[in-house]
Amino acid sequence: MHEQMPAGVTITEIVEETPSIRTFVFDREIAARPGQFVMVWVPGVDEIPMGLSSPSSITVQKVGDATTALFAKNAGDRIGIRGPYGNGFAVSGRTLAIGGGVGTSPLLPLVEAGQVDTFLLGARTASELLFAERIRRAAALMIATDDGTAGHHGFVTELVSRVDLADFEHVCVCGPEVMMAAVLAILDREGCAERGQFSINRYMKCGVGLCGSCCTDPHGLRVCRDGPVFSGDVLLESEFGRYARDASGSRHRV
């Protein structure tokens, strides 16, 4: 395998997408398939996996040490990027996408490549809806907010009943695991779990399929290398929606 030292990139622009989510644009384009991810190195802090929201950006919510340190960065600051890694989404026909919160980010390249026909977008509240305008330009958009401040009052999963699943060859999903597990349950009930493509998140260290931190039960599939996108039928009867392992490898309920 060829050398993969992290590339040093300079942040050129920081966009406040919602009160809790920012896009960091950098000065290098990374050739990636929609749904692939990069390892983002915040010098002196940590390195974390992040989906690309475009060839030259990541879109981030402040959730831990590394993302908090990233939020303290300014245009002109440098970070490290290695990748792209993982498999990404693979679609070839009519596609439904379902995004929740910051999980909408890795779905955006799929939308902007013209590969999504209908998009179900969910967030806690209207101001947290991510990329709604950009999605609306490329796909039929349906919105749900937990508090009813925009679109359907309730969870994005409730919008699934308003579309005809038989219309779509692929259902690409990314969001909080509880939401994704609810979508998988619906697809399973409708007998089409294998049409789902779920981008899942597990604690990762190496990003290249060696260390085993992100291995899932019961097949030992590596989220960083065999995923991060898994077909719904592979996730049925798995740890998905039930538990995940932390940095030490200890299990915790999702």
């Binding site: 050398e3 992290p6 040093g8 390892m39 010098p43 802090v45 290695r82 260390c211 085993g212 392992r245």
Partner: protein, 295 residues
């Protein structure tokens, strides 16, 4: 190339399905992952190193892929005693649990959790990037002997994994043998680092790490060769093995089996691929070549 006769082998008190084991620290965090590697053709698997307390490991980057190898500084992340439950589905399989501690007492404690739960133990006296553990102990022959004795006294087959980052590895191997080791595993990673010229700082979160992969194969062959001269217990060769010919070369240096780790980066089915090249029903017994380069 030499072809070997296929079939189970016994090395250092442990019965293996073939001569090819998964090395510690590679895909060994979960029972399901270890089972996947066994199903993919490994003759045995060594787990992630388990220690006396849960550890999250070093901040990232924890690994960087370089020309000819991989530098890592994971920092011994492990769930400690909770790891026992990962092994429940692997009962009866050739699973070696890698363990570490800071004292002989800690080695004995951790070893005790796995009595009756695994085929054997591999003492990590060689991790180059965890303060107070691994190579910090493994460079001192007296400590190596004491830690080995503490774990081996429990009656579980005990292998001792050595660091190449010492002046005389044979002296350390002899200490492990005196302590009652059933086999020696050589070697762990070679001390290494890289600096990001773009960011003007070491790439790894821990600054320093250990190099594995093809780049260290000649280092590992030399260490196995030296140990074969100094010790009478079996040696398991580890370091940059990625082909069947590498396995044969390690055996000629003195290894009775090998561990494979970094080569998994190119192909998770590497064990079956190597086995396919290495074994033949018309092949010879490995005993005919182990150490033959010393003649």
């Amino acid at each position: 190339m030499v072809a070997l006769y296929p079939g189970p082998v016994e090395v250092g008190g442990i019965r293996l399905k073939n001569h090819l084991l998964l090395a510690a620290g590679i895909l060994g965090t979960t029972g399901a992952s270890l089972a996947r590697i066994l199903a993919n053709g490994a003759g045995g698997v060594v787990t992630k190193s388990i220690g006396p307390n849960p550890k999250e490991g070093h901040p990232g980057p924890c690994l960087v892929v370089v020309d000819g190898g991989i530098i890592n500084a994971m920092g011994l992340p492990n769930p400690s005693a909770a790891f026992v439950e990962e092994l429940t589905a692997l009962q009866g399989e050739p699973v070696v649990v890698s363990i570490f501690g800071g004292t002989p007492e800690e080695f004995r404690t951790v070893a005790g959790w796995f009595a009756g739960k695994a085929s054997g133990l591999e003492l990590n006296l060689s991790c180059p990037h965890a303060e107070g553990y691994g190579a910090a102990i493994g460079s001192d022959p007296a400590l190596v002997e004491e830690c080995t004795r503490a774990a081996a006294s429990l009656g579980i087959p005990t292998w001792v994994k050595l660091t190449p980052n010492v002046a005389d590895i044979a002296e350390i191997g002899a200490a492990a043998e005196r302590g009652g080791a059933d086999a020696i595993v050589a070697v762990n990673t070679v001390k290494a680092m890289r600096i990001s010229t773009a960011l003007r700082r070491p790439v790894l979160g821990n600054r320093f790490g250990g190099l594995s992969g093809k780049a260290i194969f000649p280092v590992a062959v030399r260490c196995v060769y030296d140990l074969y001269e100094a010790c009478s217990i079996p040696i398991i060769g580890c370091g940059g093995v990625s082909t069947a010919d590498n396995v044969v070369e390690m055996m000629m240096a003195g290894a009775s089996a090998v561990e494979i780790g970094s080569a998994v980066i190119d192909e998770i089915g590497i064990f079956a691929a190597i086995a396919d090249d290495l074994y033949d029903p018309d092949g010879i017994d490995a005993d005919e070549i182990v150490g033959c380069a010393h003649a």
